[in-house]
């Protein structure tokens, strides 16, 4: 069956407007005035900022109150996240815990795990990493080899994870590992919570082409994992990992990573604008507004309790390409007239851009998922 590509149109509810004002007022107060670099959820964190955000009640927003959450809607969470990104706020530290690790624990974690970690995450004090990729396993995630061998009262883990964002400063990692020795592919995989300070676990920061350190190699040498750190059912890891893709791929972080370039470009255009510049800005705004509506439509699907994996892949695929378009076209339209701030934002964006279509699922993998939904494979 050919999929329905006409998604229902959804808009943010009225109460979101009030929240938006609050977030803007807060950001105005805590962020430096004037120039801000691009907000990339994968880099640029600030623990103090995350804690302040937690105090505002803007982390773990949709979670039950008994776990430190605020029982608000996905739409309200959407408003907060998009305001943070658009403002260039340093969201890097708590982002993954808020978006992925927390919801995962809510869905599959034990009562004890929820009580232990969720309040700290929501307070902006506990940060998580995702441990999926390994040296020989990138897109082909089912080929991972890190092995947690069952032992008395838990597991003994050996292996390594690669490209783990934030492992150098985060507190925990939810890792996908093999818990059945000799198992292959999707079978025998489980998710475990690892303390990044655990004995036998070492973190080696890897410098990226931006010159910064945001991802790491994490090596496990006989790391003991107490049984209670297992998330969900043993052997259910693959299912659990893929059940979160709707959250992971459909949010505004998938098309706002270079938004500050567009802001600076509009600023430059106010001073000296050519028709070419106006046309480019109009084009980018038309794309951005359409993407945002698609993304909000997916938020509505999430709010309704669905798992829109294909839709999320479509948002990410289109969104990542769009993020890459902004700086490429802006630099040409500027005709060499980039000011200090414009130039700085542009360079920052260019340096991060190669990662957009790789992290969180490459363009080719996403297109493969979409192609399958079209019945092509």
């Amino acid at each position: 069956m050919f999929p329905d590509l006409a998604w229902p149109s959804a808009s943010l509810p009225a109460e979101a407007g009030l929240l938006r004002k609050e977030v803007r007022a807060f950001l105005q107060q805590v962020l430096p005035a004037g120039y801000r670099p691009n907000s990339d959820f994968g880099s640029g964190g600030d623990a103090a900022f995350s804690r302040q955000l937690g105090q505002q009640g803007w982390i773990g927003m949709t979670w039950p109150k008994k776990y430190g959450g605020h029982e608000r809607s996905f739409f309200e969470r959407y408003v907060v996240t998009e305001e943070l990104l658009a403002a260039g706020a340093p969201v890097g530290h708590h982002w993954i815990a808020d978006r992925q690790s927390g919801p995962l624990l809510l869905k599959f974690g034990t009562e004890k795990q929820r009580a232990t970690y969720l309040p700290g995450i929501a307070a902006g004090e506990i940060f998580f990493s995702i441990g999926m990729s390994e040296p020989d396993s990138g897109s082909d995630l089912a080929s991972i080899r890190s092995l947690a061998r069952p032992v008395e009262a838990g597991y003994l883990l050996n292996g390594r994870k690669l490209w783990t964002s934030g492992a150098d400063h985060n507190h925990y990692m939810i890792a996908l590992v093999r818990t059945e020795p000799g198992s292959e592919r999707h079978a025998g995989l489980s998710q475990v919570i690892l303390d990044l300070k655990a004995e036998g676990l070492s973190v080696r920061p890897i410098r990226s082409m931006t010159g910064q350190y945001h991802f790491n190699e994490v090596v496990f040498e006989d790391v003991f994992i107490p049984q209670e750190q297992l998330v969900g059912k043993p052997g259910n890891g693959w299912h659990q990992v893929t059940s979160e893709l709707g959250y992971e791929r459909s949010g505004p972080e998938r098309f706002l990573s270079t938004f500050r370039v567009l802001v600076e470009l509009v600023g430059c255009a106010s001073e000296a604008h050519s028709d070419r510049m106006l046309i480019l800005i109009g084009r980018l705004v038309a794309h951005l507004m359409t993407l945002r509506r698609m993304s909000i439509s997916v938020a509505a699907m999430l709010e309704a309790g669905n798992n829109p994996v294909i839709e999320a892949a479509l948002v990410k695929e289109l969104g990542n390409n769009f993020e890459k378009t902004i700086p490429e076209l802006a630099r040409l339209a500027l005709e060499g007239r980039a000011s200090g701030q414009m130039q700085a934002t542009l360079e920052d964006a260019l340096l991060h851009m190669p990662s957009f279509t790789i992290r969180g699922g490459t363009r080719e993998i996403l297109r493969g998922i979409i192609a399958r939904s079209l019945g092509l494979r």
Partner: protein, 347 residues
Amino acid sequence: MTTADSLIADTLDRILTAHVDRTQLDAVADGRWPTELWNALAETGLAFATHHEDLPLEDAYASLTMVGRHAAPVPLAETLVAGELLRRAGMEMEPLPFGLAFIDESAMPQQADTFTGVLQDIAFGRHLQRLILVASDGRHWLLSEVDKATVEGCINIAGEPRDRLVFSQPVKALPLSGQSTARTFMLAALTRVLMMAGAIESVLRMSVQYALERVQFGRPIARFQAIQQQLAASAGEVVAALQAAQTARLAVNSSLLPTEIAIAKARVGEAAGIVSEIGHQVHGAIGFTYEHMLHYRVRRLWAWRDELGHEAQWQRLLGRFVVAKGADSLWQFITSPEPIDLEDLHP
């Protein structure tokens, strides 16, 4: 989709599937009027749905997506816009196909109640008896003797009649009260947005279908990753186009219509080019033949994206508004759009 939407869509789908085929499309390009098709549309009342009070406008215009999907060769778009204009003027609507003509100051009627002059690019002009004349200063007239014009038959790149009508003798021009030229222009642009969205989706469907059927190197070309990747990219464009078109349609009674039309005409027009290109690539040589149905959609997409303001024209208006508001207001505009300024967008 609302229930009304899908009811209309189903009815139309049936009519168009029964009446639109290659023979019909070629006959219309050669100057024939699609009598049966038009009559079927007229009988259901859908052609005059914007004139009835019983159907919301956004549902009435929804039928144009289906027109685009089937590449139906009828002036339904113009007739729907005319229906709304006549309704607003409190005038009756005869059950006939209507045309729309935008004219600038130099061509406006000199006498209060007659028109003499030349009209260009009139969709299905050779077949019309009625037409709404839209002047850049806001005035509108109903011309009821269009068949008195001398017709210079012209077709666009899709073979759709876009005729030149020469009125050398005065014909009756009945003023329509309560109109806005900007709104009429936006409605006309909306019709193209919706038709394009339908045709774009149809091109993707045809391409997917073909990829599953065509065998090369011993397997369906759908099995080749290069083909899968292109069609997946195309699907993204289709979703964006449908979303933008739907948002514009639902804004038909909103003050935000100018903004939504600008976004949609720009975004859908861009998607039209990309999806057409990929569609042809996937079809190989067969898609380049006159025999194949693909070009009936693709050529329409190329025509419609240029009509009533091409991408860059609408992008410029959007860009100009955003730049005038300034960098600090950009995000506010994205999250809470305002009506953009349409002055100087006129054919």
